[in-house]
């Protein structure tokens, strides 16, 4: 089937099986390698992209379901002020260990902040628990989200400080 999808502000025409997940269209057809494959079943969040601004698992989103939705991937996350703030906070907090999950984490975090500019720890848990970090950089992800939001980076769950 022929599809024209909107990716990072550009129309992309391509031919693919209707069931082909957006993840593999992005990676192997459009050569956008930033979106990662982890599980293929929406369990890990490594493949998270935005569809009309909503964090979406591209590994279970068939190309036929994308339609006219605007797709944003990690490669273009810096095109919004929120996305850029998240990216910068990730660097300032030095979140990354292996880095494999971080594209998905940043996409979930920037979708959260676009909707909720001042999230509390419960909001962060809610928005981010679909994204696995195998290196468990969770404390720093939490701090980076708060830093991007201009909030104090203290963990309010820590009642032992």
């Amino acid at each position: 089937m022929q599809y024209t999808i909107q990716v990072n502000g550009k129309a992309q025409s391509l031919s693919a099986d209707p069931q082909m997940p957006l993840l593999w269209v992005l990676r192997d057809v459009l050569d956008l390698k930033g979106t990662k494959f982890g599980c293929g079943r929406s369990f890990c969040g490594a493949c998270t992209v935005h569809l009309n601004g909503v964090a979406t698992r591209s590994c279970v989103t068939p190309i036929s379901a994308v339609g006219s939705a605007s797709v944003t991937t990690i490669e273009a996350v810096a095109s919004t002020p929120t996305g850029r703030a998240v990216q910068n906070a990730w660097l300032a907090v030095d979140v990354v260990q292996c880095g494999y999950c971080q594209a998905g984490q940043i996409m979930s975090a920037s979708a959260l902040l676009a909707k909720n500019p001042k999230p509390n720890d419960a909001d962060i848990d809610q928005a981010m628990s679909g994204n696995i970090c195998r290196c468990a950089t969770y404390s720093r992800i939490r701090a980076a989200i708060k830093q991007a939001a201009g909030l104090p980076t203290v963990d309010s769950r820590d009642r032992f400080l």
Binding site: D17, Q19, P21, W24, D28, V29, D31, L32, K33, G34, T35, K36, F37, G38, C39, G40, R41, F43, C44, I74, E75, V77, A78, Q87, W90, L91, D94, V95, V96, Q97, C98, G99, Y100, C101, Q102, A103, I106, I124, D125, Q126, M128, S129, G130, N131, I132, C133, R134, C135, A136, T137, Y138, S139, R140, I141, R142, D155, R157, D158, R159, F160
Partner: protein, 724 residues
């Protein structure tokens, strides 16, 4: 005109281990005078503009080595970190020495050696400046990428000196003076990961991102039963699927880390290759392992524990007699399951076989071992194989084995094109080298004052012919061995047809749980504070083997202080637990505060970690991140992870049934380093082992229920005062 000056220096590092560096100097001769950056040795190049390129020799798996190793060189080279560019080395042990990521070894192996590499380059630059000015080198000093002649207030930049310095014979590495640590400008300061700007922008960096012109995509379907063979397959049904280029049976050969038998499917895109598996029917010859199961092993272990251990690991005094004579006796059976590595980037490798040679792009922790097994399997020589070391999306020990490398090389040869092989998640979960399960049967005897008089462990593990399977062994120094008057550690092995291997803190990640939990039982039986009891067990400060009990006493005491041990009011349903463990030369004591809620649900509220890894934390930001990650990794293992064998195959297949820790389960982890006057040692692993028993000990404090088997079963922890 190529003149090669090799400098070979043997440096005593760590426990007397000898490192052998060969540093090809004067390479700039071959390049001509001013063209391109000048190579001062295998690790350092400086351009005429003063850009310093430092090669990072080890695989990056998330441990931060690509940032840390160059910091060691840059410090002694005396350049600003901002002027440094870092380049990932190829796999080339003749040029770079050992290149692997394992055992938290990079720090002890390179702390001295790589600083000397930087110091050697600095000395060549100083000599070049001294020659230029016709002054004694001793009158010259360096600062921020410049050589300075203080008496005449002249200075020359490294960039302007580099091509001349490259012609100077390299100095004797062993004789070079190194900086006084108080003068460090780079070491000890936090430097964020050098690849992070690319990672947050989604640039292609990982094995899975590699693209080679003309590349095809492959999946490889292996026998669900370990060691099984593909007898036949209906390949036409697969080949007729869209986009499929070929499908063929691969004969298995050799050990688990070589080539397994299976069916390769090669396609124009990976998704099509993976999808075509739906049409694949294979007749497998399953072999003997089909009779093995987790349940069967547990039964067998119970039977074996009643017998005398097949092998003695260590004994001192007379544990049997002392046990019989003791005022109080304890007995407990502990066990832990097989678990998988589950790197978030599934195993993958890109290979191009051409004209009898193979070029490989591999996310691997152990490239040279991969080269050797590819060479052996394909009938090539080591020299025929070129390996690019690609950033790994996690390692944890999984990528010390290179089975995926052999598979991709084989498939590329068969198909006659470059191939990217990628495993799907079930492949990855079901074809790992698992952390082996284990069964421990403990006995202890206390005197009337609660002092530990007798200790016995019968460890029922896996292996054959008296040799434990990979990571299934126990050593003679397992604490409390050598700290109790009467002790007996014995082992009995069960044959296993399933591949096992090192998982982050191998051996220790399981042994810490059982020993530090049973010691907690002993402390409670003695009616004493578990932290103080441990300090008492460690006794006089002394060195036993490589283990310094004084260092452990100090981290325990500090963990007590930092966590408010014994001073906090702990709510009903909550508890604090402590444990310590020595592994990978690191001393770690950890305290966990945990709460049990409705349904026995465990919430880990906080972890305090105190570690002693010597005199220097090289990159503090990375060190804290590693330690926090290790502690959370251990909590994830304890809360939920199990690989179940049934009929010789793995039951679990993805993150729904093999869950990893998530954000909402991850407690704050407070990290403290106790700096001591010892050479710096590694950090990737030693913070993991103690967190598991510290958690289980906290749950005992909270509920009175002793966790003796992992993963933690919430049903055991149900509180009568709360709903189920």
């Amino acid at each position: 005109m190529m003149r090669r000056a090799f400098l070979r220096a043997s440096l005593a590092v760590g426990g007397g281990l000898l490192l052998d560096f060969s540093i090809p100097g004067a390479l700039a001769n071959a390049r001509g005078a001013a063209a391109g950056p000048a190579a001062l040795n295998a690790f350092v190049q400086i351009s005429s503009e003063g850009i310093v390129t430092i090669v990072s020799k080890n695989p990056e798996i998330g441990q931060g080595i690509k940032t840390m190793l160059p910091m060691l060189i840059a410090e002694e080279l005396d350049v600003d970190w901002g002027a440094v560019r870092i380049e990932q080395a190829m796999s080339d042990p003749a040029r770079y020495g050992l290149q692997f990521a394992g055992g938290s070894r990079a720090t002890p192996l390179n702390w001295d050696a790589l600083r000397r590499v930087g110091a050697a380059a600095r000395q060549m630059l100083v000599s070049a400046a001294a020659q230029t000015w016709s002054v004694p080198a001793a009158e010259c000093e360096t600062q921020s990428g410049k050589v300075i002649h203080a008496p005449t207030k002249r200075s020359l930049s490294y960039g302007s000196l580099a091509s001349k310095a490259a012609l100077i014979p390299p100095p004797d590495l062993a004789a070079l003076p190194l900086k006084d640590p108080k003068d460090f400008k780079i070491i000890g300061k936090s430097h964020p990961g050098v690849d992070s700007p690319l990672i947050v922008a989604g640039k292609p960096l990982f094995g899975i991102d590699v693209t080679v012109p003309g590349m095809l995509y492959a999946v490889f379907v292996k026998s669900p039963v370990f060691g099984g063979n593909a007898v036949s397959a209906k390949l036409d049904a697969v080949k007729s699927q869209p986009g499929i280029r070929d499908a063929f049976i691969v004969p298995g050969s050799g050990p688990f880390n070589g080539l397994a038998s299976g069916v390769a499917i090669v396609a124009n895109t990976w998704w099509l290759a993976n999808k075509a598996r739906d049409q694949l029917q294979v007749v497998w010859e399953e072999g003997a392992t089909a009779a093995q199961s987790s349940e069967g092993f547990a039964k067998q272990a119970l039977e074996l524990q009643a017998q005398t251990p097949a092998a003695k690991v260590w004994s001192e005094g007379d544990a049997t007699q002392a046990l019989a004579a003791s005022a109080k006796q304890l007995e407990a059976a502990y066990s832990y399951p097989f678990i998988a590595h589950a790197t978030l980037e599934p195993q993958n490798c890109t290979a191009h076989f051409k004209d009898g040679k193979v070029e490989i792009w591999a996310p691997t922790q152990n490239p040279d071992a991969g080269r050797k097994i590819v060479a052996k399997t394909l009938g090539l020589t080591d020299a025929d194989i070129t390996i690019h070391m690609i950033r790994c999306g996690g390692g944890f020990g999984r990528r010390l084995m290179n089975d995926y490398m052999v598979e991709s090389a084989w498939i590329s040869r068969e198909i006659g094109a470059p191939v990217k092989l990628l495993w799907n998640r079930p492949d990855d979960v079901q074809h790992d080298f698992y952390r082996p399960a284990g069964f421990h049967f403990f006995k202890a005897g206390l005197d009337s004052a609660g002092k530990l008089q007798a200790f016995k462990d019968h460890f029922v593990s896996f292996g054959q012919d008296g040799k434990a399977a990979s990571s299934a062994d126990m050593g003679a120094n397992e604490f409390p061995a050598k700290f109790v008057a009467n002790l007996e550690l014995g082992m009995t092995l069960m044959p296993l047809g399933v591949p096992t291997g090192p998982l982050r803190a191998p051996g220790s990640n399981a042994l810490a749980f059982v020993f530090q939990s049973f010691i907690d039982e002993i402390a409670h039986a003695a009616g004493q504070d578990p932290l103080q009891y441990r300090i008492g067990l460690l006794g006089e400060r002394r060195v036993v083997g490589a283990f310094d009990s004084g260092r452990m006493i100090d981290v325990l005491a500090l963990a007590g202080e930092k966590s408010g041990w014994g001073k906090r009011t702990v709510a009903k349903g909550s508890g604090m637990g402590v444990a310590f463990y020595y592994s990978h030369l690191g001393y770690f004591a950890e305290v966990v505060h945990a709460t049990v809620g409705a349904g026995g649900r465990v919430t880990v509220d906080k972890v305090w970690v105190v570690g002693d890894v010597g005199s220097q934390i090289i990159n503090p930001t990375s060190a804290e991140n590693q330690v926090q990650g290790a502690a959370l990794d251990g909590i994830g293992e304890a809360l939920a992870q199990v690989i179940t064998l049934r009929s010789g195959r793995v039951v679990q297949s993805n993150f729904d049934d093999f869950p990893l820790l998530r954000m909402n389960q991850a407690p704050p982890v407070e990290v403290h380093f106790l700096k001591t006057d010892h050479p710096p040692t590694g950090l990737g692993e030693p913070a993991l082992p103690p967190v598991i028993p510290a958690l289980c000990n906290a749950l005992f404090a909270a509920t009175g229920v002793r966790i003796r088997s992992l993963p933690i079963d919430p049903k055991l922890l149900m509180r009568p005062d709360l709903p189920a």
